[in-house]
């Protein structure tokens, strides 16, 4: 089996025209280098040096082999330094999972943070929804993520809550916003809810459903849409009300439903934003970086837990 070590010994010997000096340069004893070169010759089936009295003389085969050997070692160096530059964030790709509406919570700013500090890296923020992200985590396609979680239990996952995001009731009808929304009134309201695909597993909707259920209600929604934006826009048109994260409401109301307002629920409900990764995994430097930056960003916007 050809080895890089053999090539190193060969090149040092070639350049010094001497096994002894090659060994000195490499920090080995002379017979060690001699053995490596001999093994290489045996492997190639061609003598590379003629042992002549004092010193060694390269054969024409060695002349031909040398540039190839140099190329191999150069490629190996390059491979290692490529990884080294990944480790120091000079290059490489950082992939991180994010809940779907992270764009409303400064996801772009997070990417900007990373790129400012490490201009050479590529950044991938992956995830159309927290559940989608959890699936990717489970399959190993993601190392770590920041998502919204309903409870704090998920098989084999380490979940670290970092902030809580209040759920609020949004309506274009001012009379419904005069006091905190109770389960009773909520159950009677015509609702448009976002995240239709993940209606069963969306954390906000789980929390909401649980609250209504405990109060004895089992309500349906009037309208199902995917985007929070669409839901808010429908609220703005007075076609329904909705429940969404306070952060989303603050962001979207002025633009999409200027006449609507929001009010807390009674009891208050919260979505938990958390850092999630596989339990027991040692996180890469890139993941730790993203976790730190994402946590800072979120906690600057939303109430820390």
């Amino acid at each position: 089996m050809l080895s890089l070590h053999q090539l190193t010994c060969f090149l040092a010997t070639y350049e010094h025209r001497s096994l002894t000096r090659a060994a000195e340069e490499l920090g080995y004893a002379q017979p060690s280098v001699s053995e490596q070169v001999r093994t290489l010759e045996r492997h190639l089936g061609v003598p590379l040096f003629r042992r002549v009295g004092r010193g060694v003389v390269p054969t024409t085969a060695a002349d031909t082999f040398r540039p190839h050997a140099e190329r191999v070692l150069a490629a190996a160096d390059e491979a290692q330094s490529a990884v080294a530059s990944i480790r120091s964030f000079e290059t490489g790709t950082i992939r991180f999972g994010m809940f779907g509406v992270a764009r409303l919570y400064g996801g772009a700013g997070l990417v900007a943070d990373v790129l400012e500090r490490y201009p050479g890296v590529r950044v991938e923020l992956v995830g159309r929804h927290s559940m989608d992200v959890q699936e990717n985590l489970r399959r190993g396609h993601l190392e770590a993520a920041m998502i919204a979680v309903a409870g704090l239990s998920s098989e084999g996952m380490a979940i670290t809550p970092i902030a809580r995001d209040e759920l609020v009731y949004v309506s274009a009808d001012p009379t419904r916003l005069t006091s905190p929304m109770t389960a009773k009134r909520l159950a009677e309201a015509p609702l448009v809810m976002a995240e239709s695909t993940y209606r069963d597993s969306d954390s906000a909707r789980i929390v909401l459903r649980r609250m209504l259920h405990e109060a004895g209600y089992n309500p349906g929604t009037r309208i199902e849409v995917e985007d929070v934006e669409t839901a808010v826009e429908l609220v703005g048109r007075g076609l329904a009300d909705t429940v969404t994260n306070k952060g989303a409401a603050v962001q979207l109301l002025p633009r999409l439903a200027p006449d609507a307002g929001w009010v807390s629920l009674r009891p208050r409900l919260y979505d938990t934003l958390a850092i999630v990764h596989r339990a027991g995994a040692t996180l890469s430097p890139a993941a730790r970086l993203m976790i730190e930056l994402a946590t800072q960003r979120i906690q600057a916007i939303i109430e820390p837990v």
Copy 2:
């Protein structure tokens, strides 16, 4: 220490997304591949795969590392096949030592033989004189050679005689060519001799000197020149006579001295053409090839020993 073996295991694992299948492909047990990959990860300081339930998933570091690893292995393959093609004479340089006037004995034909059989190779016929060649052999710059030797002893050299080349007396004076040349008459003749640089060590001149010395003569030469051609030309002009190899005389007389002729010496003297290389050396395929071809050529022209 980075090794090619680690890279091989890494790539197989990357492609199969599985250590087990990588091990199958490579013909190892699964823990062996696992260990190689782990060692590589430790060496690079970066995890390359996430071990997830069933199978492994490459990290972005692995994505970046892969093309580099492939380049290294490709370069290594190329290096090996470059040498393999030397071994099979598809390429590379064949260097062979030759006595200086080999051009008169079909040296060009020898090169043609090699190139015809192995169009890709470079051929170097090295040596301005047999002594010069012996020096290069001694220093290891040449592996093997065909040269003229006076005796059959040379320290540490393996000498295999393959042909003998008679020495003849060349003159433009027909009266001197009526009978074989004796030492007595030779000592009295005005001589032009070639190989002035190597006058002391040239094999033909050693043989000649020995013959004269044994007969009690200690003659000088009238003219010293380097080239046989010049010597023969001077003979053609009647300025002196010369002693040279019969092969050279046959070649050169018609062209350079049409009126001159040659006659044997009494006793007959011979230059010995021999294959020479370091004693105890194992010859490379290239050297064996050249020895065979050169021997065939020479023995087709000159009387085999």
